[in-house]
Amino acid sequence: MSGNGNVTLTIDGTEVTVPKGTNLIEAARRLGTHVPHYCYHPALSVVGNCRICLVEVEGMPKLQIACNTEARDGMVMRTRNERVEKGREGVMEFLLINHPLDCTICDQAGECKLQDYAFHHGAGVSRFEDEKVHKPKNVSWGDRVVFDSERCILCTLCVRFLDEVAGTDEVSIDARGDQVTLIVKADGKLTSPYQMNIIDLCPVGALTSRDFRFKSRLWFMQFADTICTSCARGCNTTVGVRDERVLRMVPRHNADVNGDWMCDHGRLHFAIANDDERLSVPRVDGRGVPYAVAAQRAADLLREAGDSAAAVASPFMTNEELHVLKLICDAAGIEKRLFLNPVGPGDELLVHSEKSPNARGAALLGFEAVDQDCEGVQEIDVLLYVTPREGIALPETVEARAKRRIVFAFHEREADVLFPLTTWIEKDGTVVSAGDRVQRLVKGFSRFGSLLTERAALEMVLQALEAGFEPAATPAQAFERVAAALAPFEGLTFTGVGAHGAPLGRQEVPA
């Protein structure tokens, strides 16, 4: 017996102690045992309608569903034996009876639980000889979600997500018997700004993404576990990449940041990474030049200007890039250190009102948040300006207050020295997200082969200003330099930040 609200049970011959109220799927997970399930999700209510999570519990005459059975003291449960296998095989046979076998054209193929479980628990052949039931296919649920009723196994994960998490309660089950299907209640179109999460939730290919539709099979993509940079939340994501193109972004579990969800805006906000018109080489007075030449020219301009220069940073830059920019300001004697801080409406679930990933990092590194009027920048000689994302920029009138301009931008524009800007998926680094949490960006690919990140480009400028400076050899080394320079970063390491981030100033945060 175990006290403190814990219970001890035996799973496949191994004892495990779990908090009271834990269900058998989660109890088995603690031992690394996977109990198959379609309709169960830890963040949603339990309905127990898919029946695949059958396990054997001693003392109970029939097989039990693990998702809706609470762990009890002294319980003896078996997740794999002949009886359990037979039960699961039966459930699989029923689920597959009317399944259309669309795998050849189904975007879910490769990450489909029906495929996975059919492989592990399926009979391999169908005994069903009659005509399958036909239901509506390729039904549009608005601009973002496509529904296929034949593939649906009616697990109701989408119904529960929209009701319990998104709060819009838009989908419900309609009709009965073999004609049962899902419908969108209102006018057939989903409206929730979180609707695309039901695509990830769907264990089969019933819900697919309009945006990602037929773009790539899963097995062609490479994946980078990075974060979303649309707002300060920094939802953990996995970005699917093929041939130097971002094809999709899906949320990655992080209990401390975004749970299992992300907003549609962030998910679909990657067009700039695939833009072919982007700047691919640095330019000096409009002519393409090597990085070293552009860096030398930028350094010369900054050295001449000295105090009559201003630096306008971007909150889309990583801490490492901002740190190098700060060192440049120190070396050139630039006092005006600003950054544009885009803000907008947020919501209560995930969307943050700060529309950039790293305003906190910029503030920590001594840059001052300003609005677009930018009154701090009056008549100056040189403006060093890292443009933020599309949608926010310094007005031309503000830029015109500077005689010469050194600009980092995505696209061709007027500037004395122009460096290509890179997107979040093209660099390694860290940002400080909402809740003062340090999170890592992970590089998925680099575009145009020769494109350098802002950190590398700024390091070349700094090297031209200060002969003794050595660029960081690795992203980890660049992070070490930031951590050494900033007190709140004390105790953090690049590997320690890892895939799930770490809170700043850990020692001060109460446990």
Partner: protein
């Protein structure tokens, strides 16, 4: 080592006049002449010939065994519908990465069967210079849409000519009956 003296053999009279071997040789030559003449006049195929001669390429070609693996091509079903649904399994399984597919979705103008299929290859290219004729594409195709022909003679002047596009592959492949008609019952 001592020296061994080899004496020339003494030839007999018949051997010295040399006539026998000459007659023997001429008989073979004349035999070949008339044999070939008969083969050509009777238009015999390579394997029916009585005499061994060079194959008269390109008028004559080798007969391949049934399991010969030649150029992979796309086929249509008996309703002239392209069987390929752009599942890209062949692209994935292709060891030399000779196959490239650009999938797309049927639009509103598509017929009912096509709307059921939903997906098709907008572009489908096989680089025949990369292809190693392994037959994995045919083996893995879930729609029986790609087959290897008994075709080993692909001719071109540039590398680009060997990249066969969808139309060329379909024209080469012709029609193969679809027995399941899976998409017709959608």
């Amino acid at each position: 080592m001592g020296i061994k003296v080899v004496r020339r053999p003494k030839l007999s009279f018949t051997e010295r006049i040399y006539l026998g071997p000459i007659v023997k040789g001429l008989r073979l030559t004349i035999g070949h002449f008339f044999g070939t003449l008969t083969d050509v006049v009777l238009r015999r195929k390579q394997h029916e010939r009585k005499t061994a001669t060079t194959m008269q390429y390109p008028e004559e070609r080798w007969d391949f065994k049934d399991n010969f693996r030649g150029a992979p091509v796309l086929v249509s079903d008996q309703f002239d519908r392209m069987k390929c649904v752009a599942c890209q399994i062949c692209e994935f399984v292709c060891p030399p990465k000779a196959i490239t597919i650009w999938p797309s979705e049927f639009d509103e103008s598509a017929d009912d069967v096509e709307k059921g299929v939903e997906k098709y290859p907008e572009r489908f290219e096989i680089d025949m210079l990369r292809c190693i004729y392994c037959g994995y594409c045919e083996e893995s195709c879930p729609e029986e849409a790609i087959f290897l022909l008994q075709e080993a003679e692909l001719v071109g002047r540039t590398k680009e000519e060997f990249v066969f596009d969808r139309e060329k592959l379909l024209a080469m492949g012709g029609v193969r009956e679809d027995r399941a008609l899976k998409w017709h019952n959608k």
